[in-house]
Amino acid sequence: MTALNQSKERADIDIQSIVEQVQSGNTRAYAEIIRCFQKQIYIYCYYMLGTKEEAEDASQDIFIKGLENIHNFSYTVSLSAWLYKIAHHHCIDVIKAKNRGYKFWLNMKQEQVKQTQAPIPEYDEMVHRLLENLHVDEKRILLLRSIEEYSFDEIAAIMDMKAATVRKKYERLRKKLMKENMLGGDIYGHSFKIGG
């Protein structure tokens, strides 16, 4: 089952009732929210930050921020959209903190992978490489489209942008990725085999 299916399986009412419980002081009920969104938030952080360790730390901090601020949450957006907003700000802070070292480290890591042939699924490496060429907003759009299949309107609400702007950026990132694909055709060709 995909993370998406799991997330959508939890219908609105379920999440709403849990949120209401947490807002009424039953913080323990928040465990169910973590259980429900952890994979998606983790995947988001993983591709934003680059490593599993950072993604785990960041996801935990994001959920804690969510819990600490749950009294500010109201249904102006869905809970998942709200969590992604927190996730974005958190990831940006993390990226800023390690800014220069990041690309260097990622390159190092990729070199290492090539040399040691560590058993990391190759297609997350492929995704990391593709994402590396995108601007941070483009990354967010692609991740939100991918992980949650959000509409442009929903992404616009999360990113505080106009839907038309999101659509334009999506178009631009598609072109960038395709250009990248032509340059690195072998990586992408390989991915199709895995995907089946």
Binding site: A29, R35, H71, S146
Partner: protein, 376 residues
């Protein structure tokens, strides 16, 4: 779109699928909750500071039929006389008797609940299961604390419990086989009612008629969890109607799949299907319901849970709602669906009337009245 662009779109869709299906095994629940607990120990909780601000928002959300926990706000209040009565009869104390939940109140009065005296003690703190009832729609368990040290007397029991896990005949309950735990307050801060339901109306298995339930509750500051075995059996006294009546409105097909009337609960299962078979639903189109008897008395909502059947390639929303019981068998039940009206800006907020209550709009096209044959 030319062939090349179409190919590109297909490739992008593929990349998006890779991202979505990135294989991850991650379980952050306990680590996150522990990290939160330890950070909370070192700084004052924001929750208490903001409680005053929270109230209007909570009340606003509570009005929606999708919202369940109005009881938490309403039933915290017990009159001093009542509290005094409780103290006089400690041995017969019932956690169910002092809730605002008419169903549990009836369970206590009619002797349908099973009185228990099961307890576990760690570090001078005793947790006691006082009673349990299962009516085929929900399991409700009354628990109380006895803390001789009195250290935690200021905090609600509900806030003191940092984790709850259940085993049903030894098998863990999780989001695949139960609704998650709902809580209701009772007579005072030393007691709480824990409730949950199965997912039999949402593609899951029903709970057995009789089972052994293991409650494992963790109290903040006490490392050993409080484990108690609770025997549960279905009181088995209910009317089950499967009207399967549908109505259509715009893109929605609204169906009442099942109504169960028990002495302690009215359980209603609805299905909302999208006629265009689309799978993306704007939450602003969410339909809620009110339930009335033939004389126009509205039943109060207790709690509910639902899910979309995305696995079956559609996004039918199946909801189980549990409401107060009818005092006597009604001649007819009327379901009145409604939607909230939303502002264009800020996007997604409720339109409110002059009293600050959300404005709702009944959808008369979806209204269903089900006559009940008294022979049943």
């Amino acid at each position: 779109m030319d062939t090349r662009s179409r190919l590109e779109v297909k490739e992008l869709t593929q990349i998006e699928r890779f991202i979505r299906e990135t294989p991850v095994e991650v379980d952050l629940v306990n680590r996150t909750m522990n990290k939160y607990e330890s950070s909370r120990d070192t700084k004052p909780s924001k929750k208490f500071k903001t409680r005053k601000n929270l109230r209007p928002r909570v009340m606003m959300i509570t009005v929606s039929a999708a919202m369940i926990f109005s009881l938490i706000i309403v039933t915290g209040l017990i009159s001093p006389t009542m509290a005094a009565t409780m103290k006089e009869v400690p041995l017969l104390s019932s956690v169910f008797k002092f809730t605002g939940d008419l169903g549990l109140h009836a369970a206590d009065e009619k002797g349908l609940s099973t009185k228990l005296n099961i307890s576990a003690t760690h570090e001078g703190f005793t947790l006691n299961v006082t009673e349990v009832v299962y009516d085929g729609t929900r399991v409700a368990i009354g628990i109380e604390r006895h803390d001789k040290e009195g250290e935690n007397a200021k905090e609600n029991l509900s806030e003191q419990i940092s984790n709850i896990e259940f085993l049903l005949n030894g098998e863990p309950l999780n989001h695949t086989n139960f609704s998650s735990v709902f809580e209701q307050p009772s007579k005072d801060k030393n007691s709480v009612i824990l409730e949950f339901a199965d997912l039999k109306n949402q593609g899951g298995s029903p709970f057995p008629k009789q089972f052994n339930l293991t409650l494992s509750a963790t109290i903040t500051g006490i490392s050993e969890p409080f484990k108690m075995d609770i025997p549960v059996s279905d009181i088995g006294n209910y009317v089950n109607l499967q009207p399967n009546i549908s109505r259509k409105y715009k893109n929605n097909q609204f169906t009442i799949e099942q109504i169960m009337l028990t002495p302690i609960t009215t359980s209603i299962t609805t299905r909302i299907a999208l006629l265009d078979k689309s799978t993306s639903v704007d939450f602003r189109e969410g339909i809620s319901i009110e339930v009335y008897d033939e004389q126009g008395h509205e039943l109060k909502l207790i709690h509910g849970n639902g899910r979309r059947e995305t696995n079956k390639g559609n996004s039918d929303l199946i909801m189980d709602l549990r409401l107060h019981p009818f005092e006597t068998l009604p001649k007819a039940i009327t379901i009145k669906p409604y939607i909230h009206l939303y502002n264009d800006y800020p996007k997604g907020t409720y339109q409110e009337n002059e009293n600050g209550d959300p404005i709702i709009q009944y959808i008369s096209e979806l209204e269903i009245t089900i006559p009940i044959n008294s022979k049943e």
